[in-house]
């Protein structure tokens, strides 16, 4: 029986190659995701381990060092006397303190240096050498000297002998002479694209520990055990071996690669999901074609389960071969992606390729999916009666009632899960509930596609029926609703996913635009361009802007995002020098109390936040600032809920307790009739000495807010491209089969005068209709999905719903192109058909 199976497979090579491609693609992406994650982790760990070479122990504050900021309270530092104690421990050969943190350095363009601004600042000491290699010049010897990394030189446009201005959140600007340039071991310019600047220890402490003689960590060399060191110092400090510290440090860096890995795993799983349809379809087709052969096998005594086994064996062979090929290609793709991630996001990190054991899961997925998908067609095959061998194969279309009812039920289950997942009814399982709901809904909709195909194909086909061959193509597309539906489903799922995301992005843009247009009463906005940190500017600048003749009003915003607490719970705080004006610009309104002259111990909060914490007008609430000060503040105003003004507002006198006591944003109202562009230029002049912020008009502001989403949306299209490949394979498969099945029909048409061109057009129209059907359905489902999510997020601020018209048009056009491409080979086959063979009898 196996022999017969294998021989049969050998005679259907083309179809097998096409089916295998789908499995290969799915397996490839899953494997690549695993490999990317493992490779990046290994590569990052390797580099970090390099950095810790020769360090035997590390002493850090017992509290979470991740909370460390430029002006960290001394509780998060290791004082200088601990360093002295450690140096005295038996077996300690050397110990140095590390001072590091974020420093803003100004490049020759007047703006902050580095793509990942700010720059990493640290103290250059004996420990620094080894991993850091001086390439040119020398180490800083005086407080006015610095050595910078090679990446810093590249990004800043400054070099040895130049003067660089640097400052931190807590220290004023100072000028430094660049006396040296260093690279990282392995001849790298940076670890991951970051810029670095190193000072003397005293200067680093002035910038980063508010001048205190303290360190972020102490690095120890020698054979002293971690216990010995720990015994010598207070329990407030944690002692780790060099390896432990290295692993901890690597984890943070690997996170970027992890995210990439998840994205590709997602793509891989979608590819696998989509290929399930393709595999089911192909095997159904193979079984249909082999009906007489299978009937003959049954007639000469093969048992039902032998027939099932024969089909499953075929699936297993495809699954194994395709999965192995997929795994191999996955290794290549994973390596390529690792190089790409490394060069774009990690500053040229050397890649150490890793193929983890988990990559073998891709094999299991590939084989499992292929065999499982073949079960239904296999069981169907066993139902072929022996007598079918003696008859001309006739496959009357089956009624669609059962499949439609099942589809409705499954779609409903999926829909309920989606809604439950979105509405927090599933708690922590919300996201997985939502995602599995989407998956189940897709299966349900797929079951519904045959019934939907009838009216939709007729409708789409009507557009195509301008020629007679087009009309025949349309009729052919509607001939086998199940096959048309399952073929279109692959495209439907992919288009639905990308349309869903595009719909959400469009809705978000619409919401942002609405908010800006209807709620923001300002014409110009001063804010930072950098995404990673909180850019601020000097408070004096606000006064200068207000003083401009054409400026009517200026709203300002101070923020505290680190470690402030309201009533014991971490909460961001906001403040404005003139809350009344600012609220006016933000179209904020007061529900209760008053915000005029907010008293020093006053507090304004929006309604729903107040409700959440159970506070009301007149209540007194303890507010703790990041610098440790706690004040009892009285709620003197309750604001109406509004996205732009929601939050806890304190009096301007409290700003001095903020981590960064500088304004983050300013909103400028230009006087009526004044030229906005002219005012923008004036503000630009005022901001010339403010490296962290720029002034933009409202249109640019919206573009900036939504720009990152466009990048996200662009990268999601990769998913579509992937699905398109699989969809093309699926459509080719179906069309080739149709041409085969209708050989006689084509022969007849050609005999009575259909030209080759007409035959080609007929197949092409069928192909385009199938693809358009998939795309239209996918767009509809995607819009539904996007709408559901938008409705669920309306409370969170996603108030507008918008359709991504540009993408919808692109997807429809893509469907037509896919249809045309997929039809090329089958149409050529139909056109080249030998009329004589086609009409000859057996």
């Amino acid at each position: 029986m196996l022999r017969a199976t294998l021989k049969g497979m050998a005679s259907r090579k083309a179809r097998l190659v096409l089916t295998s491609l789908a499995v290969v693609l799915g397996t490839m992406f899953v494997a690549a995701a695993m490999i990317l994650t493992a490779t990046m982790e290994k590569s990052v760990t390797g580099v970090i381990a390099d950095a810790f070479t020769g360090i035997d122990a590390v002493v850090t504050p017992a509290e979470d060092p991740a909370a460390a900021q430029g002006n960290t309270p001394s509780a998060n530092l290791v004082p200088g006397d601990v360093l002295e104690t450690v140096r005295g421990v038996d077996g300690v050969d050397a110990a140095d303190g590390d001072v590091s943190g974020q420093v803003n350095a100004i490049g020759d363009d007047g703006k902050l240096v580095g793509t990942f601004a700010p720059t990493i600042g640290f103290n250059w000491n004996a420990q620094s050498t080894g991993f850091n290699v001086i390439r040119e010049g020398r180490a800083p010897e005086a407080d006015g000297e610095v050595i910078v990394s090679a990446q810093f030189v590249t990004d800043s446009g400054l070099d040895i002998g130049d003067t660089v201005t640097a400052y931190s959140y807590s220290a004023e600007r100072a000028d430094y002479e660049i006396v040296g340039v260093f690279g990282l071991s392995g001849d790298r310019d940076s670890l991951a694209g970051e810029t670095q600047i190193a000072f003397t220890t005293a200067e680093a402490q002035r910038l980063l520990t508010q001048g205190e003689d303290a360190y972020m960590a102490i690095y120890v060399q020698g054979d002293a055990s971690t216990e010995d060191i720990a015994d010598a110092i207070s329990a407030d400090y944690r002692v780790q071996t060099g390896e432990e510290a290295s692993e901890e440090a690597a984890q943070g860096f690997a996170a970027v690669a992890d995210i990439m890995g998840y994205i590709f795993l997602g793509f891989g799983l979608v590819a696998v999901f989509v290929s399930v349809f393709l595999i089911i379809n192909t095997f159904t087709i193979i079984v249909a074609q082999r009906q007489r052969e299978l009937a003959l096998l049954r007639a000469i005594g093969a048992a039902r389960n032998q027939v099932v086994g024969s089909v499953l064996a075929e699936a297993a062979v495809i699954g194994v071969i395709a999965s192995i090929v997929g795994l191999g290609l996955g290794v290549v793709l994973g390596w390529g992606l690792s190089e790409l991630v490394s060069s774009t996001a990690m500053g040229g990190l050397p890649v150490q390729l890793q193929v983890p054991a988990t990559a073998l899961w891709a094999l299991a997925v590939g084989i499992g999916v292929t065999v499982l998908s073949a079960i239904v067609p296999a069981v169907k095959a066993s139902g072929v009666p022996p007598v079918a061998a003696m008859r001309e194969a006739v496959n009357p279309p089956k009624p669609l009632r059962g499949i439609t009812i099942a589809g409705l039920a499954v779609t409903a289950v999926g829909g309920v899960l989606v809604v439950l997942g979105l509405t927090d009814n599933l708690g922590d399982l919300g996201l997985s509930g939502f995602l599995s709901g989407v998956g189940i809904a897709f299966v349900g909709i797929t079951l519904l596609t045959p019934i939907l195909s009838r009216p939709l194909v007729a409708l789409l086909g009507a557009v195509m029926s301008w020629s007679f061959s087009g009309r025949l193509g349309r009729l052919n597309a509607g001939r086998n609703p199940r096959r048309t539906a399952i073929t279109a489903s692959a495209l439907m799922i992919a288009v639905a996913l990308v349309t869903g995301i595009a719909t959400l992005v469009a809705s978000f843009k619409e919401t942002t635009t609405d908010l800006t247009d209807s709620n923001l009463e300002s014409d110009l906005i001063v804010m930072g361009q950098q995404g990673a940190n909180i850019p601020t500017f000097a408070p004096e600048t606000l006064a200068e802007i207000k003083a401009l003749p054409d400026v009517a009003a200026v709203g300002d915003l101070y923020g505290e995002f680190f470690g402030a607490e309201v009533d014991g719970e971490p909460t961001p705080l906001y403040a404005s020098e003139d809350l009344e004006t600012s609220l006016g610009i933000f179209s904020g309104t007061v529900a209760e109390g008053s915000i005029a002259d907010l008293p020093d111990d006053g507090l304004a909060v929006n309604e729903s936040a107040a409700e959440d914490r159970g506070v009301a007008l007149g209540d007194t609430v303890p507010v703790t600032f990041a610098d440790g000060t706690t004040e009892q503040l009285e709620v003197t105003a309750i604001l109406d809920d509004s996205q732009l003004t929601d939050g806890w507002w304190v009096a301007p006198t409290q700003i001095e307790h903020f981590t960064i006591p500088k304004p983050m944003q300013a909103y400028i109202q230009v006087a009526d009739g004044a030229d906005i562009d002219a005012v923008q230029e004036e503000v630009e002049t005022i901001l010339a000495d403010e490296p962290e912020v720029d002034v933009t008009n409202n249109a640019d502001f919206i573009a900036q807010q939504t720009g990152q989403l466009d990048i996200l949306l662009g990268s999601v299209q990769v998913l579509l491209a992937l699905a398109i490949i699989i969809a093309i394979i699926g459509v080719i498969n179906t069309l080739v089969l149709s041409v085969l099945e209708r050989t006689r029909e084509l022969g007849l048409l050609r005999a009575i005068g259909m030209t080759r061109g007409q035959a080609r057009r007929m197949i092409t129209v069928e192909s385009v209709i199938i693809c358009l059907f998939g795309a239209v359905l996918g767009i509809a489902v995607g819009i539904g999905l996007g709408w559901t999510v938008q409705q669920a997020l309306e409370e969170e601020g996603l108030t507008s719903f918008a359709l991504p018209w540009d993408y919808i048009v692109i997807y429809l056009a893509a469907a037509v192109v896919v249809g045309l491409l997929a039809a090329i080979a089958p149409a050529a086959r139909a056109a080249k058909l030998n009329v004589l063979n086609a009409i000859a009898y057996e």
């Binding site: 009729l475 006689r744 007849l748 005068g753 030209t755 080759r756 004589l836």
Partner: protein, 258 residues
């Protein structure tokens, strides 16, 4: 009878046609120097045992297959040497086909199948003519039915209507009754006869059934790739009688060419 008419034009003619398949040892010569004329307005049957070359002859005459040597004309048009496009146009405009089975497109109704050649050509079929054929074939009640809803005989009658719909110079019928019961077969043959007598249609029919051949004006016997007998005004008995002595005919034909 129309065969008696003295002014007879030739609808189809073959001149010295050779056709072989395969090469070397496996070569099979299907037609050996066949020359034959089919008069317009006549109903001719081509008979012969399996492998005699009767289907090949019909395919060559109809422009479905190419000849190795010799020439074929449909009316004044030389078929030999035409490219695929010209052949397709020739088949569309000047030839009607009736096959043994699978004559109809399952997606189209009976009426759409009848007007299929015109639709392919992008022209409109002559409605009066179509009406007349449909009436003659008694298909008026079945026009909106799909082929699967028709009996075998009805399907073949639709195929006949389609073959005549464009008023072709010649209709080639390849075993048109091969798949039908006797009664349905007789209906189809009667219609073919009628179309010759009443509409002056030229018909060339390949068959192995002496009863079917008896409807024709003339029977051409083929054996071993050669024409071995040309019989006018056949009856079933005459045909059966001829077939009984077929071995002798073949032997004689071989002797002649040797």
């Amino acid at each position: 009878m129309s065969t008696a008419s003295p002014v007879k034009t030739t609808a189809v003619s073959a001149e010295g046609v050779w056709k072989a398949y395969g090469s070397g040892e496996a070569q099979v010569v299907a037609l050996r120097d066949v020359s034959v004329q089919f008069a317009s307005g006549a109903f001719t049957a081509i008979m012969g045992p399996s492998g005699s070359g009767k289907s090949t002859l019909m395919h060559c005459l109809a422009g479905l297959d190419t000849t190795d040597r010799g020439t074929v004309h449909i009316g004044d048009t030389p078929v030999t040497g035409l490219n695929d496009k010209a052949l397709t146009k020739l088949r569309r405009d000047k030839i009607g086909f009736i096959f043994q089975q699978f004559n109809l497109l399952p997606t189209l109704t009976a009426e759409e199948n009848i007007t299929l050649p015109a639709a392919i050509a992008g022209t409109k079929a002559d409605p009066d003519w179509i009406k007349k054929i449909i009436h003659t074939l008694d298909l008026s009640e079945r026009l909106s039915h799909k082929p699967t809803e028709l009996s075998g005989g009805q399907q073949q009658r639709v195929a006949c209507a389609r073959a005549l719909a464009t008023r072709p110079e010649v209709v080639f019928a390849d075993e048109p009754t091969g798949n039908l019961d006797t009664r349905s077969g007789a209906e189809v043959l009667r219609f073919l006869r009628t179309s010759v007598d009443d509409f002056g249609q030229t018909i060339v029919m390949v068959t192995h059934d002496p009863g079917a051949a008896a409807y024709a004006d003339r029977v051409v016997f083929l054996a071993d790739g050669r024409i071995v007998e040309d019989m006018a005004d056949p009856t079933a008995d005459k045909v059966i009688d001829k077939m009984k002595h077929f071995e002798e005919l073949v032997a004689a034909a071989r002797g002649e060419s040797a």
